[in-house]
Symmetry: C2
Subunit: 219 residues, 2 copies
DNA sequence: GTCTATAAGTAGATAGAC
DNA sequence: GTCTATCTACTTATAGAC
C-alpha cells in the first residue's frame, strides 16, 4: 500500500493539499484567478470541494499559497544564477545577462509547472492587487536589487538610473518572448514558425546578444 | 436644454451607451474583466443596471465593444506613425523605431482613456481567450506585419526570422516599461524615482537608443 | 481528512411598467 | 430608453455526519 495512504484508504494530510496546489497552478494560469472556480480546481485535483476550505480556508489563501509555490522555485533559480555571478570577481556583461535570461527561458520549457508558473506570474503582474503585490515584493525585490547591482558592476560607466531603466527593458524583452512562445499564447501572424520551433539555446543566445549591445549603447 | 436630451428628460440613444463604454474601459482595466461586475460599470456610468442588457445584450458583448473602442485609437495611432514611415523612401532604423515606440509612450500619458486602454490591452494579452484573440488579430495583425516589413527595409542585412524575433524583443521592452510607469503598477524597489518622474521624451529617446543598438547587433 | 448537504450571497439576464 | 423587481444559476464558505 502506498505510504501516503493509511489503512482506511484516506490520503495523508499533505497529499490532497499538494494536489490542490498543483491543480490550482494550472487552473488559475489557464482561466485567470477570478474566472476560475474552486470547483474547477478541486475537480482537476480529484478532490472534494470542501477540501479547499479545510486545507486553505479561502480562495484568496489558496491563491497566496499557489503563487508562493510557483514563484519560489522561479525566484530560487534566478537568484541562484545571479548569486553565482556575484561570486565572479569580474563578471562580464554577458555573464550577468545570461544569469537573467537563462533561468526564465529554461523554466518556460518545463511543462510540469514552470511554464504555468510563468503564465500565472505574468497574468498576476498585469492585474495588480494588494495581496499579490505583497507576494511579488517578498519574492523578487532582492533578486532585482542584486541584478541591478551586478549590471552596475559589469557596466560601471553607466549611471544608476540608466541601469535601472535598461534592466527593465531587458526584463520586458525576455518576459514578452517567453509569453509569446507559450503554446497558449495567440498565434502571431508571420511568427508561427518561430513560435513553434525556435531552439531554446539559440533563443537564449539571441536575446543575450540583443540585450548586450543594447545595454552597452552610450547614447 | 442639452441637445442630447429630449423633452421627457431622457437621454439620447448614444449618451448612455457611450457613458457605459467609457466606464467599462476603466472598471475593466482596474479590476479585470472577470472580477468587474456590470453593477460596478453601470454605477460608474451613472446608468441603470438594465442599460447594459439593452445596449449591449451581454457582458461579453460589452467587452467586445469596449476593447474595440480602446484598441481602435491605439491601433490607428501606431499604424499612422508606421504608414508615415512607409512613405519615406529610405527610412533609418531610428525612424522606424520611433514609429513603434512613440505612439505607445504618448498614449500612456493620456489619463482620459489611453492609459486605461493600454492597461486593458496588457491584461487581455496576459489572459488569452477566443473572443479577445479575435479582436487582437483584427486590430493589430496589419500593424505588426507592416512594422516588420519596415524594419526589414531599414535593416536589409538581417534575415526575416531575426527581424521577427527582434521586433518581439522591442515590443516587450516598450510594453513592459509602459506598464511599469503606470501609477497602478506595483512600486519597484529602487525604481520609485524613475516611476515617478521620468520625462517622457527622454524615455522615448532612451528606449529607441537601446533598441537601435540591440537591433543592429550582428551576433 | 473527507464527504454530503446547505447556507448566504451575488452574479448576469430579463419581463414589464412607465 | 429607462426603470424596478425578479428569476435563475451559479459562487464561496460552512456545519455536521462519517
Amino acid at each position: 500500500m502506498d505510504a501516503a495512504e493509511d489503512r482506511t484508504g484516506r490520503h495523508d494530510d499533505r497529499d490532497t493539499r499538494r494536489a490542490l496546489l498543483h491543480a490550482a497552478t494550472f487552473v488559475f494560469a489557464d482561466r485567470g484567478f477570478d474566472a476560475a472556480t474552486l470547483r474547477e480546481v478541486t475537480r482537476a485535483a480529484g478532490a472534494n470541494i470542501a477540501a479547499v476550505n479545510y486545507h486553505f480556508r479561502s480562495k484568496d489563501e489558496l491563491l497566496r499559497l499557489t503563487l508562493e509555490q510557483c514563484l519560489g522555485p522561479l525566484n530560487a533559480a534566478r537568484l541562484g544564477a545571479m548569486k553565482a555571478c556575484e561570486g565572479d570577481p569580474q563578471p562580464t556583461l554577458r555573464t550577468v545577462l545570461r544569469a537573467i535570461v537563462a533561468p526564465l527561458v529554461e523554466l518556460s520549457l518545463d511543462e510540469r509547472g514552470g511554464r504555468a508558473a510563468i503564465r500565472l506570474m505574468l497574468q498576476t503582474k498585469a492585474l495588480p492587487r494588494a495581496l499579490t503585490n505583497e507576494i511579488f515584493a517578498e519574492q523578487f525585490d532582492e533578486l532585482h536589487r542584486l541584478s541591478r547591482r551586478m549590471l552596475q558592476r559589469a557596466a560601471p560607466e553607466l549611471g544608476e538610473a540608466q541601469i535601472a531603466l535598461r534592466y527593465e527593458y531587458i526584463r520586458g524583452a525576455i518576459l514578452h518572448i517567453v509569453a509569446d512562445l507559450d503554446p497558449n499564447a495567440r498565434r502571431m501572424p508571420g511568427l508561427e514558425d518561430i513560435q513553434d520551433h525556435v531552439s531554446n539555446s539559440a533563443l537564449i543566445d539571441d536575446i543575450i546578444s540583443f540585450c548586450e549591445t543594447g545595454f552597452s549603447t552610450s547614447d
